[in-house]
Amino acid sequence: MKRQTMYLRMITSSLVRRRSRMIVALLAVAIGATILSGLVTIYYDIPRQMGQEFRSYGANMILTPSGGGRITPEDAARAAALIPPENAVGIAPYRYENIKINEQPFIAAGTELEGARGASPYWFVSGRWPEETGEALIGQEVADIIGIGPGGVFTLSGITADGDGFKGEFTVSGVVQTGGAEEAFVFMSLEALGDIAGGGGLDVVECSVSAPQTELEELAERIGAGTPGVTARLVRRVTQSEVTVLSKLQALVYLVTAVVLMLTMICVATTMMAVVAERRREIGLKKALGAPNGEIIREFLGEGLLLGGLGGLLGAILGFVFAHTVSINVFGRPILFKPLLVPVTMLVSIAVTGLSCLLPVRRATDVDPAIVLRGE
């Protein structure tokens, strides 16, 4: 039999046949690894999760026409195609026309209603969103001034930039409250506005994109370069506060992770100290049989590393469950599994357990082999 085979047989036997003692040590490592891997999973998933949360505050990128005029529908489609579909929460193109209702001036906004709904989830609508071309969503201010609510009918009129007059009759599907300038707008589909005011370009495209600020900046540059008629700008008020909150939250999780790592080390070191202390007689016996100190350290380290690996694997699995539970309860969304975290957690656990073992084992090799003759 090779020496290495005997070595493995000894360390695995120690773990398997001393199950009750080793389960305590394994639990200490696994619990530490669970919290660590769980926190790291949350740490790396926070930008995605919080990005989703921030999207409820509205658009974070605005596309405007370059150098006056309007954005052509073709340019808008080309720019929208550059936004990765998995990151696009809502894309709402807007065409504005000055209108009058009962001789009161307002603004009509034609948009893709589904995109507007995605880009502005914070809008509160009494009634419902328009579903047909003859329906419109009016702002609270408009509703107050003209004294109309859901189900009411109104007629609007206006003059396009080309000087052509237009007129149309709409049914109010709902009244929207936003707390902003939108409450003085009348929203309808782009088709509905086109039907009464004729064809025209877009004034602005509001985009809600789930991505960190750096990716958003790159995306804005790509859109600008790929669509010369369009200028993409980030809504700094939104993106900057997102960055600030995220960095503070990540710093907090980072700090907690560091503290947990330290506590884990102390806990594992204490457990290993106890494990080593109760095996003083065994160490004395091995020394009496002629085992050099290095060999005894190698055996205990082997046990510790095996324990660290097993505890790390268990911790990586439980850590994902922990992070998933936190994510479901806090963000209401599942967490992404990161396979790389499994080997990383195992390696960290092995390193922590190895370091924790080193001190007690080195001290244990000071045991006098004569203790076995004294019957201690």
Binding site: M1, R17, G290, P292, L373
Partner: protein, 221 residues
């Protein structure tokens, strides 16, 4: 005297102001069976520690197999203990998570290369071939002591050092262990037994009686 395996030359061991051993001299020939007796505190354990390379004398010389080991480093003593001495303990001291066979192989592992077949033969020799795969907790006291003997013999030591080898055994197992000792002695092994039991000492060729750290008398059988 070229046939001497062990020679103690006026060794003393002083702990603080207490002298555990005082000017003890002893010569053990190859193949000899010696018994060391004495009341508690007479210095038996100290002498065992020194002969077993687990301690060094304060003064005097210990010549084991032609080598003065009294000035050896701890590392040197470990190597000598591994290569030249087979230890048998009163409390057996088996590793509780290893089988009888693995306990014997551990001594091989620290010495050179584990050999399962040879370890099994050593267990068969002490009548434990059938119990080789059992854990110490599954063995009786007598069986555990026989595993301890098989472990002590596995590396062909120059000297077998036994500390109260029958101290924890019933009469039947004491008989079995003493038979193994007789057999080993018959094959030429050098044995030093520390014991309280006059029956165990009876088989020895010489009995050294220690009192207050000195050799009080020596009897030859």
């Amino acid at each position: 005297m070229g046939n001497n395996i062990l020679e103690l030359r006026e060794i003393s061991k002083i702990y603080g102001s207490v002298g555990a051993l005082r000017d003890v001299s002893l010569t053990v020939s190859q193949g000899e069976w010696i018994a060391i007796m004495g009341p508690s505190g007479s210095g038996k354990t100290t002498m065992m520690n020194i002969i077993g390379c687990m301690d060094k004398p304060t003064s005097g010389a210990v010549i084991l197999d032609g080598m003065d080991i009294s000035r050896e480093s701890q590392k040197g003593l470990t190597n000598i203990r591994r290569d030249k001495i087979g230890l048998i303990f009163q409390q057996f001291h088996l590793i509780n998570y290893l089988t009888a066979l693995e306990n014997v192989m551990v001594a091989q592992y620290y010495h050179s290369m584990p050999d399962e077949g040879e370890a099994l033969r050593a267990l068969q020799r002490v009548g434990l071939g059938e119990r080789a795969r059992h854990l110490p907790s599954q063995l009786s006291g007598g069986e555990q002591q026989r595993v301890c003997i098989a472990r002590a013999l596995i590396n062909y030591p120059r000297l077998i050092l036994a500390d109260e080898p029958t101290g924890n055994l019933d009469e039947t197992n004491e008989g079995i262990v003493l038979d193994i000792f007789r057999q080993l002695h018959g094959e030429g092994s050098t044995i030093i037994v520390v014991t309280h039991d006059p029956e165990v000492a009876e088989d020895a060729q010489r009995t050294i009686v220690l009192e207050h750290g000195r050799v009080a008398r020596v009897t030859h059988s």
